[in-house]
């Protein structure tokens, strides 16, 4: 029983991290209909930058904020420089460009930071909290994960539902041409979407790093798990990303706990295949018939 509880809690914490990265994927997909496979690597690079800052004696929380800001800028830059030139052409080209970006970022991280083994500190203590008389596998850091991702989600929902900026972003995503005719600067908003996704990706990186091997590849699996989460949740809604993240996190955790950690990616693959079969891609594509 204790094992089950611990595995579940572990799954919830991981699920929240997948949800954060899935949110980034959703933001970008809604705005530009592209899956940004480099999102994990972008989060990896910003976390490496955080590591450098910490190495130079910068206080943790300053580094944290700085790196979220850098993620913002990086997202905007990638959209402007790499993705913008490809808009309007085939829908597969930008996807492949993001794959190229993924390996470039991993290569750059490896070249600059080398193979030196380094760890990344957690924001809070990672030892389990005590509930009643038992120690559970949920630490202060896990609470921080939960809280920070929830804050991110709520902020995103508030932005979209309750602000003019959010209205413009939604309109741009639903119908770019009509929005432009109404005076909305759609291009700028697409860049903003990527920038916000960059922040979410940076957060995910900072949350994963303490428990990972912290090599340039440490976000690879997180990315594909987040992709699975986003697909389950529907690639169009932040709430879906959260639900998908939790489902994926829990599933992976059970697979890892009962079958062994090496089978986790395979478990995710099965989960993804089931999700893709159960919700044929047509449901994700917005039905054009409504637009009259």
């Amino acid at each position: 029983m204790g094992l089950f509880v611990n595995i579940t809690l572990d799954g919830l914490a991981n699920g929240m991290i997948f949800a954060a990265l899935a949110l980034a994927l959703v933001l970008i997909f809604r705005a530009t209909r592209i899956v940004n496979f480099a999102q994990g690597a972008m989060g990896m690079i910003t976390t490496f930058i955080a590591s450098s800052l910490l190495g130079r004696g910068v206080a943790y929380w300053w580094a944290f904020l700085a790196v979220l800001a850098i993620g913002f800028v990086l997202g905007a830059l990638v959209e402007r420089v790499l993705i913008r030139p490809l808009q309007g052409k085939s829908e597969l080209n930008p996807v492949i460009v993001t794959i190229g970006l993924l390996v470039v970022l991993e290569g750059v991280a490896g070249t600059i930071y080398g193979n030196s083994s380094r760890g990344f500190p957690a924001a809070y203590s990672q030892s389990g909290l005590t509930v009643g008389h038992t120690k559970i596998a949920f630490s202060h850091f896990d609470v921080f994960i939960l809280v920070s991702v929830l804050v991110l989600m709520i902020a995103t929902l508030v932005l979209f539902r309750a602000t003019s900026l959010g209205l413009r972003m939604r309109a741009s995503a639903f119908s770019g041409e009509i929005s432009r005719l109404l005076g909305v600067r759609v291009g700028l908003l697409l860049t903003l979407g990527w920038a916000l996704a960059g922040v979410a990706g940076s957060l995910a990186g900072l949350l994963v790093a303490p428990t990972s091997s912290f090599s340039p590849y440490f976000m690879d699996l997180v990315l594909v798990y987040a992709f699975t989460a986003a697909v389950i949740g529907g690639l169009e809604s932040p709430v879906g990303a959260l639900i998908g993240g939790l489902i994926t996190g829990l599933s992976i955790s059970y697979v890892g706990g009962y079958l062994g950690s090496g089978l986790q990616p395979l478990g995710a693959l099965v989960l993804l295949m089931v999700a893709l079969m159960a919700r044929p891609e047509g449901i994700f594509a917005r039905p054009p018939a409504r637009r009259v």
């Binding site: 592209i34 899956v35 496979f37 790499l82 030139p85 490809l86 052409k89 085939s90 829908e91 597969l92 080209n93 996807v95 492949i96 460009v97 794959i99 190229g100 970006l101 993924l102 390996v103 470039v104 970022l105 991993e106 290569g107 750059v108 991280a109 490896g110 070249t111 080398g114 193979n115 340039p216 590849y217 690879d220 699996l221 594909v224 992709f227 699975t228 697909v231 062994g260 090496g262 089978l263 986790q264 990616p265 395979l266 995710a268 693959l269 993804l272 295949m273 893709l276 079969m277 044929p280 891609e281």
Partner: protein, 375 residues
């Protein structure tokens, strides 16, 4: 007005040169080209050092993998970021058989092809319902999911150390590297000829029709899902054979040989060579084999650390992919074709007829919206 006296022009106008044409029947044409290629390669490998022979063999095996990928992605329009996994399956199949049985070498290779093809079937069936980014994501996950399985059951799969492979003994006094290279070259030539014929046949037209417009294809009576699965299976089988050959080249098969970057490098090499082409895959294979060396010397020039050269190679692959997508989606082969087309136009203006060259349909990565080039 007399045309300028240019030597090539004189040749072009010579009647006998104009009669030099390849037979129009595809199979004969491909076999003749293959035999010429084989002859050239024989001369080349005999005169090269054993290490260079080894490299030529590696180029050949990557041609096999890339050709399969090119068929799947360029001709049939399904992207795969997971071909490293198919290669791994092929490699482990051969290695396992070599370790535990004394099966005939050719049968072991066939088993590799078969095992990879079965995985291709398993993946190909759900893939029929997936469009670009979703298929990319699923195959990406495949590339990450498969290798850890070998780590988990490390007793069967040899764990970190991996399984060893043995190359069948070379005949006579041929040195082993040259012999292995020859096995791989033969494999590559056979695969390329078979695929070239396939692409020229009704199958090839069906693949392309499905790529261009699934609805139109199904209205024309094509069984779209079946076509897509067949393409996947063939492509996976090729990768499986290439994986087995890779296992023979390196002598050992372990999960470290098949990281995610391998799958992505295959994609980059295919794009650079020319998506949808077969001949272009030789360029891509050269890139795959020689880039690590060039980046090692590059990193030496820049005095980077010892591990940095592998990462540098990765950067270059990524840049190649990005630049190719933005600036030159048809790759090297596409560029050559364009140049050859220009020359033909120029030549015909001067009254010279240039031999017609076409070795198979080409395609660029595209989605349903874009107007495509074919042939």
């Amino acid at each position: 007005m007399t045309p300028p006296a240019v030597p090539g022009l004189a040749l072009g106008r010579a009647r006998w040169f104009r009669r030099l044409r390849l037979p129009t029947q595809p199979l004969a044409r491909h076999m003749i080209l293959a035999l010429c290629g084989a002859a050239v390669l024989y001369v080349v490998t005999s005169s090269l050092s054993p290490y260079n022979d080894f490299e030529v063999g590696e180029i050949a095996l990557y041609v096999i993998a890339l050709s399969g990928l090119s068929l799947l992605t360029g001709v049939n329009g399904q992207i795969s970021l997971g071909h490293g996994a198919f290669m791994a399956v092929g490699a482990y199949a051969t290695a396992l058989l070599m370790t535990h049985t004394h099966l005939n070498f050719l049968l072991e290779l066939l088993a590799s092809i078969g095992a990879a093809a079965i995985l291709g079937l398993v993946i190909g069936i759900p893939a029929t319902r997936l469009k670009g980014p979703y298929l990319a994501g699923m195959t990406l996950l495949l590339a990450l999911a498969l290798p850890p399985i070998a780590d988990k059951w490390s007793t069967t799969f040899g764990g970190d150390q991996g399984l060893t492979t043995t190359v069948p003994a070379a005949p006579g006094t041929t040195n082993p590297e040259e012999w292995l290279a020859w096995i791989q070259i033969m494999g590559a030539l056979i695969v390329v000829v078979l695929l070239a014929n396939l692409l020229r046949s009704r199958f090839g037209r069906t693949f392309r029709a499905v790529r261009d417009d699934e609805i139109a294809a199904s209205l024309a009576g094509i069984h779209v899902a079946r076509t897509k699965v067949i393409a996947f299976v063939i492509s996976a089988g090729c990768a499986g054979l290439a994986g087995a050959f890779l296992g023979l080249s390196t002598g050992v098969v372990n999960t470290g040989e098949f990281p995610l970057t391998l799958s992505i490098q295959l994609l980059a090499a295919m794009v650079l060579g020319g998506t949808g082409t077969l001949m272009g895959m030789w360029w891509g294979a050269v890139l795959l084999v020689y880039l690590p060396q060039w980046s090692t010397s590059l990193s030496g020039d820049f005095n980077l650390g010892s591990g940095a050269s592998a990462y540098l190679a990765t950067i270059i692959f990524g840049v190649v992919l990005i630049v190719a997508m933005i600036a030159a989606p048809t790759g090297i082969q596409g560029g050559l074709r364009w140049a050859w087309g220009r020359i033909s136009v120029f030549g015909s203006r001067l009254g010279v007829s240039t031999p017609s060259v076409s070795e198979g349909p080409g395609a660029t990565l595209h989605g349903p919206d874009q107007v495509r080039n074919s042939g």
